[in-house]
Amino acid sequence: MSKIVKPYGDTLNDGKVQLSFALPVSPDAHGKEAARVLILNMGFSEVEITCLRDLGEGFTHFIAYAVTPASVDTTKLKVKVVETPVMDMETTDEYVSEHLGRTITVVGACIESDAHTVGIDAIMNMKGYNHRYGLERYHSFNAINMGAQVPSEELLAKAREVSADAILVSQVVTQKNIHIQNLTRLIELAEAEGLRDKMLFICGGPRITHELAIELGYDAGFGTGSYSTDVASYIAVTLSKQGK
């Protein structure tokens, strides 16, 4: 049975969408018409430009509402998500001691050019983020956070040295898709060094999805809204399933 949906304004399937963008045009009737036609060219109808703001340097900001003819059948979607259950810290610790009977070693870093540790710190640091302690706080984890701008080679050397169960890579800066280049480089090096199948490779960051992670050759990816609990549970359950 298919379930076809359209955007909802105030009536089912009215298709109402809010748009906001800048154009290199002047903030006048001519510019407004340019914006309106552009939105029509996007396939929308019933275009209503509700606001023009002069941005200077020949740019104008437009806010608009329009109606889209597009719809989606939600029964036909294929979504890749991390499917392991999410447990809190105490439950994960119990789970690990029951199923693995040892400590899990995790090495994490912001690799290559990325200097933004906020993501990796939220997952790994003792303090954690938003009422979820980081991996350092878990009894069942030996968490090594190497910090920012760590070359891929150093991260892999560390992981080898401590016989890591999992590598956590954070990529926050995504301008010009630098995160893809960095993540690809790490996985290629890991393959060349024969480490790829010896441990879990996990990446995270605001623009990372599980699907992207799989595509890049990682085991899992965690995007915005992920916490240490998601990552810890995933590692614990996956290792246990692998019988490691």
Binding site: G56, F59, S113, V118, K127, A148, K176
Partner: protein, 518 residues
């Protein structure tokens, strides 16, 4: 009038402890130098440019001298000696060294007085240029009027200096007072400053002297057009702190992010290297009339903003104390703090107000720099915009010096043109709406806000007193700051620190110290 009732005894104790901590480094400041300090001297002597392949000439000279184990006299003496021997300019000497044609240590040494005269003439020439730049800034402010309070500070970060110019000019048109060109993300750990105009960067644009020049010129044009002086800022931080300060002084940047301890804690740069570099970098900033800004917001993004609020206060007092040692006047100290408390917490606004008032009142003359919510900014741009409005409210109500505007897309990407414009509109609306509100308000002495500010001050005082007893390096090694352990001999850049010889000479430091009365 909205004002705290701060325990003045605590204020004095905290300042005294900070003074004890920073006063313990004279051995370092007087006895050591670093490669970037020497490269700064070379740049100030007029050496610029890079070899094919990109190695900057100041680095080429330092490589040359360090391979000859000749660094301990300082680079200036060797270059001046070659200038006299060959009748070359400093730049010609550098080019001859780069081509492999000249060995600086192979020439006979000229008499010391000749070398000093040569260097002092060069120093006078460059320092006159820097003074003229400072004078030009004052003239512009006199002509167009002083900066508003809080000043509207926005970032541009396209990676391409020419695209940055378009965005900066648009921001100025929308109402920005200060433009920050965010640096490419890996630059703080480069032990050289890239050369020339750059069009590729990640999360920002490389700080180069040419990029400084391009942006300053564009902002001068837009200042004239708008009848408002638009200030420019960048980052004198990382492994090239004093070099970037010098480049900023030459090209008339108006502010510089220049924290005494940030590199140690958040970039794992060696503690000795950082303290040494900041000492000279801040001296240059002081001489050039550049307002320094500090990075206390980082303590709050890496730890809990309520629990660790005192670390901000402690760091501000240390930054103030180190800055005074370099001759920076309080009116040029943009000490930092931030609006980073979890918005789900009840009365989070009261905490923020208490913290903001504490900063404002501890440093009454300083143009304190207030940083926006970032940690709890999310993909929900509408909520982030609302948080930014609350942040702007505190900024105007408490009279912060510089308001670093939050962007609704903070958690998503470097700001788009529209994001920046909406942020400025947000700030202008709130600033206008609550302009004189503070004059009408008073705090009860037993109010939560008053008690909270005093309790943060108390914690900061006790912390500083403990660090003063322990010593700063020891405290950092134990992880007392930001819960990060930084041993004295760990971190990046220690190999670029060296002990000076008896006959070491840095013509710029001596002269600047004299003129600043240090």
């Amino acid at each position: 009038m909205l004002k705290l009732d701060l325990d003045q005894n605590l204020v004095q104790r905290a300042r005294a402890a900070a003074g004890r901590i920073t006063g313990g480094f004279q051995w370092l400041f007087d006895g050591y130098s670093s490669y970037t300090i020497e490269r700064t001297v070379l740049r100030l002597m007029g050496i610029d440019g890079a070899q094919e392949g990109g190695r900057p000439l100041p680095n080429v000279i330092i490589d040359h001298l360090s391979s000859q184990k000749a660094m301990r006299k300082g680079a200036a003496v060797w270059v001046a000696n070659a200038m006299l021997a060959r009748n070359f300019s400093a730049q010609e000497v550098a080019e001859a060294v780069a081509s492999g044609e000249l060995d600086l240590t192979a020439l006979p040494m000229a008499p010391a007085d000749k070398i000093y005269t040569c260097l002092n003439d060069l120093a006078a020439k460059m320092l006159d240029h820097i003074k003229a730049q400072a004078q030009k800034r004052s003239t512009m402010f006199d002509r167009y009027g002083a900066r508003r309070t809080p000043a509207i500070y926005v970032i541009v970060a396209t990676g391409n200096i020419y695209e940055d110019v378009t965005q900066a000019k648009a921001a100025a048109h929308s109402g920005a007072d200060i433009i920050a060109v965010i640096r490419s993300t890996a630059q703080s750990l480069l032990d050289y400053v890239p050369y020339g105009a750059t069009t590729v960067g990640f999360g920002g644009t490389y700080a180069t002297q040419e990029n400084f020049r391009i942006m300053r010129k564009a902002l001068d044009e837009v200042s004239e057009e708008l009848g408002r002086y638009i200030s420019l800022t960048n980052y004198a931080s990382g492994l090239c702190m004093p070099e970037i300060a010098a480049m900023g002084a030459m090209e008339r940047l108006d502010l510089m992010l220049n924290d005494a301890m940030y590199g140690i804690l958040f970039r794992d740069i060696n503690p000795k290297r950082t303290l040494l570099d900041q000492y000279f970098a801040r001296m240059i900033n002081a001489y050039a009339g550049i307002e320094i800004q500090t990075g206390e917001d980082n303590y709050l993004t890496t730890s809990d903003a309520i629990e660790k609020a005192y670390t901000v206060t402690a760091s501000q007092l240390l930054n103030e104390s180190f800055a005074l040692l370099s001759g920076v006047k309080p009116a040029k100290m943009g000490l930092g703090h931030a609006y980073e408390i979890n918005p789900e917490i009840e009365n989070s606004f009261s905490y923020e107000l208490a913290h903001a008032m504490l900063t404002r009142e501890l440093f009454p003359e300083a143009p304190v720099k207030y940083m926006p919510p970032t940690k709890f900014a999310s993909g929900n741009i509408f909520k982030t915009h609302l948080m930014d409005a609350m942040f702007n409210f505190v900024g105007q109500l408490t009279g912060q010096g510089v308001q670093l505007l939050g962007m609704m897309t903070e958690a998503i990407h470097t700001p788009h043109l529209v994001d920046r414009s909406l942020a400025i509109e947000n700030a202008q609306y709130i600033f206008t709406a609550v302009k004189d509100l503070a004059e009408n308000l008073e705090l009860r002495p037993d109010s939560f806000i008053n008690r909270r500010a005093n309790s943060v001050l108390q914690e900061a005082t006790e912390f500083l007193e403990r660090v003063a007893d322990e010593g700063l390096f020891q405290a950092m090694a134990l992880g007392e700051f930001a819960e990060i352990r930084r041993p004295e001999n760990g971190g990046k850049g220690l190999d670029g620190v060296f002990e000076r010889d008896q006959d070491y000479y840095n013509p710029f430091m001596d002269r600047i110290k004299e003129e600043l009365g240090l």
